[in-house]
Amino acid sequence: MALLKMSDFGKRFTIHYLGKTMPAVEDINFSLEAGEFIGIVGRSGSGKSTILKSIYRTYLPDTGSILYDSERFGLIDLAQAAEREVLYLRKYEIGYVSQFLNVMPRTTTRELVEKALLEMDEPHETACLKAEKALEHFELDPKLWDAYPNTFSGGEKLRLNIAMATVKKPRLLLLDEPTASLDQHSKEKVREVIQALKASGTTLVGIFHDIEFMEELCDSVFYMQTQELAKKAQAGVGYES
């Protein structure tokens, strides 16, 4: 059974002060097996982020279904799931990383990563250690560990975001341009973590502007323009649809 399956998914936005309703995406169909990594490719405004945010319920899905094979709930339609169920899944099963840091104010970098672990019932001592290990891995300067991230650079914020999401070892991880403002070296660090997560069974859906980076990691690519899912050829290079 697929771990995630989007069927006839569509999302519109109604802007009341303009009196307008605009479709952002329509008729999206794809599915991925547990442990697979699918990349989404399309031009700006084609609805890539809309798809991820709808899976995560930051956007309210309109039409179609988003079936997710949950550890806690079994097969569940994320488009219909109760708010509390979605909150549970966010805490224990589904992670989301974007370029934008959206965190509790006045909370230090270290506390943020620890909190991600504590909320999934990790004991305090191991949460401390794991948080430090994650911050070290992403080479966030220890000087920053006890600082509030508001003033961090784009790359530092992003690395913190990724650290917060990946320490939880989510079953499903949604990545919205997780390498957007990173230099080559930091990208390598992100690649390592993605590879490690994938090896440990995490299923991933990612949006990348860096096609090369993506192609090395993904099992298949979903093209927004043609709405087709292309499986990466077993041998390595090239795709076949």
Binding site: Y17, K53, L60, E83
Partner: protein, 279 residues
């Protein structure tokens, strides 16, 4: 559902005034906002239904006059509901509509199940009692009798809300607004209630004091896992505290959802206006 609600509220209605032929039927009434121009009745809360789950912070946002405080006062039995039901998931109160209970039982719930922090500290504190005395009062109401224990508990609570030891015997009337709110929070927490109501706790405070009180609330929630209903007209407060949010307008719930969804994908025209004004 995979868990049971701690508090289940069904069709809470509260009106001020007795209504007239033009407004007594909910489906056909023509109101100006929440007000019947023909007879002057105010429909402050109309068919409010929601669940509060264990350990969550539920945000309620809406403009001035939307009925937020009235709803909280009904929940806390300060105001009698016009109609509606509320259930607390508690073995002793199983299946009982708490709005219909005797005043003695309501008092028991207030003293043992609920804590309330009022928009105006004057309603939550005896301004001319010491801070310790204010807390002791609530402890006595909850059945405590041991004086030394109560002093000890009061001290610990006031310390936890950062009221310095040497000021604990002082009367809150001499405290700043932020300190008064913190004493109110300590008092509301003193009986270890499973449910805490917070009505505009930070309104009127300086920004830095606001931040301090919000951090305090967040920490309490994280450490004690107490369920809270946080009312505010300020989306920034809701964004910081609440997992789920309800939007009220003219006495009715117009929208509810995960807080980040309400902020990033608001559905109702009024919510959109509210969100755009935040950015």
């Amino acid at each position: 559902m995979f868990e049971e609600a701690l508090l289940h509220v069904c069709n809470l209605n509260k009106q001020f005034g007795s209504g007239c032929s033009q407004c007594s039927n909910p489906s056909s009434r023509m109101l100006e906002k929440n007000y019947c121009p023909a007879c002057g009745t105010v429909y402050a809360c109309q068919d409010i239904s929601f669940d509060l789950f264990p350990g969550e912070i539920l945000g309620i946002v809406g403009e001035s006059g939307s009925g937020k405080s009235t709803m909280m006062q009904c929940m806390y039995f300060d105001e009698e509901v016009t109609s509606g039901e509320a259930f607390i998931n508690d073995t002793t109160l199983e299946g009982e509509n708490v709005f219909a209970l005797s005043s003695q039982k309501k008092r028991y719930i207030r003293n043992n199940k609920y804590g309330m922090v009022y928009q105006n500290p004057v309603h939550g504190l005896k301004m001319n009692f010491s801070s310790v005395g204010n807390i002791a009062e609530k402890l006595i109401a909850a059945g405590n009798r041991h004086v030394a224990d109560m002093e000890q508990t009061s001290r610990e609570l006031l310390e936890s809300v950062h009221i310095p030891l040497f000021r604990m015997k002082e009367e809150p009337q001499y405290f700043s607004g932020g300190m008064q709110q913190r004493v109110q929070i300590a008092k509301a927490l003193s009986n270890n209630p499973p449910v805490l109501f917070l009505d505009e706790v930070t309104t009127g405070l300086d920004l830095s004091v606001q931040a301090n009180v919000l951090d305090l609330i967040k920490n309490i929630q994280r450490e004690s896992g107490i369920s809270m209903i946080v009312v505010s007209h300020d989306l920034a407060v809701i964004r910081m505290l609440a997992d789920r949010t309800i939007v009220m307008l003219n006495g009715s719930i117009i929208e509810e959802g995960l807080t980040d969804q309400i902020l990033e994908d608001p559905q109702h025209a009024y919510t959109q206006q509210l969100v755009y004004s935040l950015l």
